[in-house]
Amino acid sequence: MGVTGTGLQQTIFELGRAGRGGGKIPHPPRDALDRIPAAARRETPPGLPELNEPEVVRHYVNLSQLNYAVDTGFYPLGSCTMKFNPKLNEWAARLPGFADLHPLTPDAAAQGTLQLLFELEEALAEISGMRAVTLQPAAGAQGELTGILMIRAYHRARGDSERKEVLVPDSSHGTNPATASMAGYRTVTVPSAPDGGVDLDAFRAALGPRTAAVMITNPSTLGLFESRIGALLDAVHDAGALAYMDGANLNAILGRFKPGEAGFDVMHFNVHKTFSTPHGGGGPGAGPVGVGETLLPFLPEPRVLREDDGGYRLERTGERPSSIGRLRSFVGNTGVLVRAYAYIRAHGASGLREVSDDAVLAANYLKSRLAGTYDIPHDRACKHEFVASAATIKKATGVRTLDIAKRLIDYGYHPPTIYFPLIVEEGMLIEPTETESVETLDAFADALIAIAGEAAATPDLVKEAPHDAPVRRLDEATAARQPNLRWRPMTGAHAPCPD
């Protein structure tokens, strides 16, 4: 199948015309670059499009309208916590005092941000029951790497070089095994128990002197609290290994369960999930990591320190030799962390607990609405999300979960996460969050129930969905087989004029 026409909207390259634009930057003196040796200079200017500002603005505004977003509708994407992003936080992050601050500004001139970061570390430590928190990791996955590298450093510091394995349950996020590989560990996948929880016996059998760490998501990716977590943590520690908690699902347990108190050694936070920082179409996030006493010496540098005089400063390079070092440049995704700080302050202790209470209540209510129409493989109280399955519908009608997801688009919803976790056949992971009204939950349930009816009555209608989206289903196979990843350089009238 070939590509015809220009699609929904021309690319920014097709819009460009030589001679458009300008007026942004004063012209430099003609001799500005004369002192740059010819060999180091660029011979051909980059083939960037030339546009004027109104065209650029219209292009991006029109493109934005092809997106579905939390601010346009219900986005129950399981595991991603697509809650409302408060506007105060966008305002705060753009305050010039925060936004214009260079990351290498001397500590004395950065006291406001340093205080904010210090207080955020303390709040996250309190929420997680951990001893201390680093704000450096740029995203949850980098937080995972930070945690696993600290665990590696811990074993090395004890002269224990035999531990080469990281255990993960088969319901884990893909980032867990990918992180273990990046840190040089072999991943051992442990099957889940029939009730969806960790299989304690299987874990005990897999644990041993070669186990460096166990990575657990709690509540699990099925949205279920790991009730056997106490016994599992004991087994992990008895084996000399450490326990990592993937904090992706923290939105379910604020004020109810503190991983550090329960015995986890390390965990990461996804502030773009639990603490409402925007998902940004794929990022940025931030992935703070909390540690217990055991891993405290290994935290990345620099930490934010409070001095005796009440001032704040960043740790100096090499000040704490036991540190695993840096994971990235500078202190962290501070602009994201300002938003998380504002969110935590706005809620306080009581508000955060209510967040989880309402998120869990909404998920259980929605689950109860769908039971009877969809399979609910693990029908007990869920936490902030749950898995429904279209396995029975598929058997009866041939309509798959993918089709139902696409049909939801016609009803005006973003589909849930589908085919994850991998252990549920035809699964859809539904996470409503606490910021959706009961009317929205009911309307969404009505839509899913109506689609189940369509699957039986008019299956092709569902299989060919979406019908009302900007485009129909895409040819992903050709895209992967003959990748076109770049607009070809412009020629003729589209080429930029020489300087």
């Binding site: 590696r152 106490g230 998902h279 992967a480």
Partner: protein, 477 residues
């Protein structure tokens, strides 16, 4: 809860539907012994008070200093169109475009980002995107190991110290990392020592996967990139160029001097400094390495009707598909910052970008002359673009006293390179298109005052604070 919609009646209705009387019943699966102690956090803060708290904290940062600080993060003019488009919540409240039918905005913008950066770096494959320049450089280094099946990487000491520290963290396992020293004196002082590089590449028992060098280097100097690339390739290694994107408007792009991979910090493309992030990790490669590049790729394809559309592709490299065999664990990336960079490039245009780079170079020339005339000559003789190192006696103390006079005199090099005697008493300073001639004069006068023992004037003493700006404005009147 400030953003929750539920009334007491709503909660009662939901609980009733579940046959429950209290939400506590939904948490009974948490074993009693493991239930949390009460959260010890302040009370909820109403928006009005919270806004005042945040303003107060922001106001305690001194962002009004005349700043000559770069060192990897640069002040630039970002047309207001950039941030105003970013504030459309169709961009920032969406997530990864897993459902392409309702994500064509994000997908097309990513394809355009890939294409725009490809033009800048002159390489065909652009990943969208990585956390920052340091993480992108570390991913580039890991790519060279996967592609060559070798496990040793050489990094020039001319690469940003934070990037080198990040590389050391990422390479702490079975992979080896060696640093290539810089030339100590002579015309090439401060750039990669090619003789030492050749020697490090020659060890037959320790074959090298990749060589990493930066253009401009951390000290602002222009590196002999073609020569570094040739040495790397002669030893069967890949060549990674760490680049600054604005400079690519005027400096030779990596694709023309043989780089296999380009990595860099995208912050200069319209993104605010924000005390460290979020920024944008640029990572690009030659076509041949497309299956080794980590991070999202968006490609052009067609829908069932043959209409042009865009989709995430070559997903078999990614963690949610390949798990422990993935090219990286990266999941959330920096999509919104990639969008910012695209809007910036589209708004500023090819000629504007050249003007940004050239005006920065012109201001830097003025800065060099002003500092040299007031007791702070350059350390290195070689060519630079818009950033360079100067030497002053007691640099750390001078730097601190200049802050008191409202001038942020770049970076104290000993803070980041404490073990390099050639950088003792060095300050790394930069100019960009937003640096004004008046700021350069102010820097020079303050420097002369500090070195000459003159006490700060009233204007200097208050500079960089709100009160100081008002005082300065009053003084002018």
């Amino acid at each position: 809860m400030p953003y929750g919609p539920h009334t007491a009646a709503d909660r009662a209705r939901m609980l009733g539907a579940l046959g429950l009387t209290s939400v506590d019943q939904l948490f009974e699966d948490i074993p009693e012994a493991l239930r949390a102690s009460p959260l010890d956090l302040p009370d909820p803060e109403p928006e009005l008070e919270l806004a005042a708290r945040l303003s107060d904290l922001a106001g305690r940062n001194r962002t009004g200093l005349a700043s000559f600080l770069g060192a990897g993060v640069y002040r630039h003019w970002s047309p207001p169109a950039v941030d105003q488009i970013l504030l459309r919540s169709e961009w920032y409240t969406a997530y990864t475009p897993y459902q392409p039918e309702i994500s064509q905005g994000t997908l097309q913008s990513i394809y355009e980002y890939e294409s725009l950066i490809a033009e800048l770096v002159d390489l065909d494959v652009v990943s969208a995107s990585h956390y920052d320049g340091a993480a992108a450089t570390a991913e580039a280094a890991l790519m060279t190991c996967r592609a060559t099946r070798r496990d040793r990487v050489l990094v020039s000491r001319g690469v940003h110290p934070h990037y080198r520290e990040t590389l050391r963290t990422y390479f702490g396992g079975d992979l080896e990392l060696d640093e290539v020293p810089l030339v100590v004196d002579g015309d090439a002082a401060g750039t990669t020592d090619l003789v030492a590089l050749d020697r490090l590449l020659a060890d037959p028992n320790r074959p090298v996967a990749g060589v990493i060098a930066a253009q401009p280097d951390f000290l602002g100097l222009l590196e002999p990139m073609p020569a570094i690339g040739e040495l790397a390739h002669a030893a069967g290694a890949l060549f990674v160029a760490v680049v600054e994107p604005v400079s690519l408007a005027v400096l030779a792009p990596p694709g023309t001097y043989g780089a296999d991979i380009a990595a860099g910090e995208g912050q200069p493309l319209g993104i605010a400094p924000q005390y460290g992030g979020p920024y944008l990790g640029i990572l690009a490669s030659r076509d041949a390495l497309v299956r080794q590049i980590p991070g999202r790729l968006v490609g052009m394809t067609a829908d069932l009707d043959g209409r042009r559309a865009f989709v995430m592709t070559m997903r078999a490299r990614e963690q949610d598909i390949r798990r422990d065999k993935a090219a990286s664990n990266i999941c959330t990336n920096q999509a919104l910052l990639a969008l910012a960079a695209s809007i910036y490039l589209a708004t500023i245009g090819p000629h504007g970008l050249r003007d940004v780079a050239a005006l920065g170079a012109a201001r830097a020339t003025e800065l060099e002359a002003a500092l040299a005339a007031n007791g702070a000559p350059r350390i290195h003789p070689g060519p630079y673009l818009n950033e360079f190192a100067v030497r002053v006696p007691n640099a750390r103390s001078v730097h601190r006293r200049l802050v008191d006079r409202g001038v942020l005199a770049g970076l104290v090099l000993a803070d980041v390179e404490p073990d390099d005697p050639t950088l003792e008493d060095g300050l790394l300073v930069c100019a960009t298109e937003v640096t004004t001639p008046a700021e350069i004069v102010r820097f020079a006068e303050a420097l002369s005052g500090v070195l000459g023992g003159r006490p700060p004037t009233a204007v200097e003493a208050g500079a960089g604070t709100e009160r100081g700006r008002r005082a300065a404005a009053g003084a002018v009147r």
